[in-house]
């Protein structure tokens, strides 16, 4: 089943870069679904069942600040990069860029 294998490999590749994608969007405040929407608009089709637990894990690691808003009729949870999150995001981005360059060199050889 070559197609299934490729699909799984692409999924794994996507998963590895998901934290970067999420952090890139959370410089501004977002609630869960608005983040999905924002990622979708940029061409990243993301599974909500993967995203919501990821937001929770990032919050637990203090990379994200989360606040509940009760302004509307239903409470809504907003997420944004914390100070520590900004620092981590910057370092992660640098690591990714350097990895990307190395990979490109390798693949062009």
């Amino acid at each position: 089943m070559p197609d299934k294998t490729l699909e799984n490999l692409v999924q794994e590749l996507k998963k590895g870069t998901l934290v970067l994608a999420v952090c890139s969007q959370l410089k501004d405040k977002h609630y869960g679904y608005s983040l999905v929407d924002s990622l979708n608009k940029q061409g990243l089709d993301i599974d909500k069942n993967t995203l919501y637990p990821l937001l929770r894990r990032l919050e637990k690691r203090q990379i994200l600040d989360a606040t509940w808003s009760t302004k509307s009729s239903r409470p809504r949870k907003y997420y944004q990069l914390s100070m520590y999150g900004h620092k981590i995001y910057k370092q992660l981005r640098n690591a990714y860029n350097s990895m990307h360059k190395q990979l490109q060199c390798m693949m062009e050889e």
């Binding site: 869960g32 909500k48 069942n49 239903r74």
Partner: protein, 317 residues
């Protein structure tokens, strides 16, 4: 029943207890963020897209299972069958063994023998369950079967509804009742001498021979209670049938209490010489009072049960 609440209830069953409330609050907010018209069809479509509650919950669990989740339904089914069939077979085999090896016995001897077999049966069942788990781990490790679950789409309509309060049963409560029932059954049938007044190095039995006439009724009542608690522990809820049996058993307990009140089951030699004739009278009144209280509580529960059935009937209309 609110579709979202019902869905979240089922997600919650697979979440760690310490984070359950918070995760469900988040999920509820995520679900309603997508809702525009709040129509049942729209909510069903959202829940369908999210998938089976078990899959949603598994993404929140940090500890990865040793087995793929595709195999879980098969393992769960096999273990359920083992948990039901094995104890019955072992009890039956032990019973046959007892009947073959003993020629002179009464019902209590059989009951006592079977109670003694319970720890052995529990350890055998646990061993078999462990072996099955190992077999599945080995199958996964060496054969890696491909199970396609995409052909079974999730439908929120197929989720069972949240049990109403009247059908609620906690596992801990059932377990405690099971232990208490078994202990009482053991003491009344095997160690009746323990129920005594201990005085200056001697013990005087508290119950007289009239109690023996009531004992079979108590045994039947406790045995029914044990079966019900095993069922409630396994199902984690009551069903219409088990609730009905429970209510009948409550009436049965009330009848036993009335029998106990009217049959002078206590050893009167205990109080002779102490001018305490009022004590049996107090016990008699207490037993009748307890019996009446049980009957009143049962009648209230029957009314609640009938009302819940009426509600269910109206909803289905």
């Amino acid at each position: 029943m609110n579709l979202v609440d019902n869905y979240l209830y089922h997600v919650g069953k697979f979440l760690p207890l310490t984070q359950r409330e918070e995760i469900l609050k988040e999920l509820k907010s995520h679900i309603y963020d997508q809702v525009e018209s709040e129509s049942d069809d729209e909510i069903k479509a959202i829940l369908k897209e999210m998938g089976h509650p078990k899959d949603v919950a598994s993404e929140y669990r940090n500890n990865r299972s040793m087995l793929p989740k595709e195999l879980e339904p098969i393992i769960s089914l096999v273990i359920k069958i083992i948990l039901i069939v094995m104890p019955i077979i072992l009890l039956f085999v032990n019973l046959i063994e007892f009947l073959v090896n003993n020629s002179n016995f009464n019902t209590l001897d059989i009951l006592r023998y079977l109670i003694y077999q319970v720890p052995e049966i529990i350890s055998s069942v646990l061993m078999i369950v462990g072996l099955i788990f190992i077999v599945f781990v080995l199958i996964e490790k060496y054969f890696q079967p491909e199970i396609d679950t995409s052909s079974i789409p999730f439908d929120p309509d197929n989720l069972p509804t949240i049990p109403t309060k009247i059908y609620h049963a906690s596992r801990l409560g059932s377990l405690i009742e099971l232990i208490v029932d078994s202990t009482i059954l053991y003491i009344l049938n095997v160690q009746i001498g323990l129920i005594a007044i201990y005085f200056e190095g001697t013990s005087i039995p508290l119950l007289n021979e009239n109690f023996n006439a009531i004992l079979p009724l108590i045994n039947i009542s406790i045995s029914i209670s044990i079966i019900l608690n095993i069922f409630h522990f396994y199902k984690n809820r009551k069903t219409l049938i088990s609730k009905s049996v429970e209510l009948i058993q409550h009436i049965f307990i009330a009848i036993i209490l009335f029998f106990m009140a009217t049959n002078n089951i206590f050893n009167l030699t205990l109080i002779s010489g102490y001018n305490l004739e009022v004590v049996p009278q107090i016990i008699k009144i207490s037993l009748i009072f307890a019996g009446v209280a049980i009957i009143i509580a049962t009648v209230i529960e029957v009314i609640q049960l009938l009302l819940s059935l009426k509600d269910r009937h109206l909803k289905s209309d």
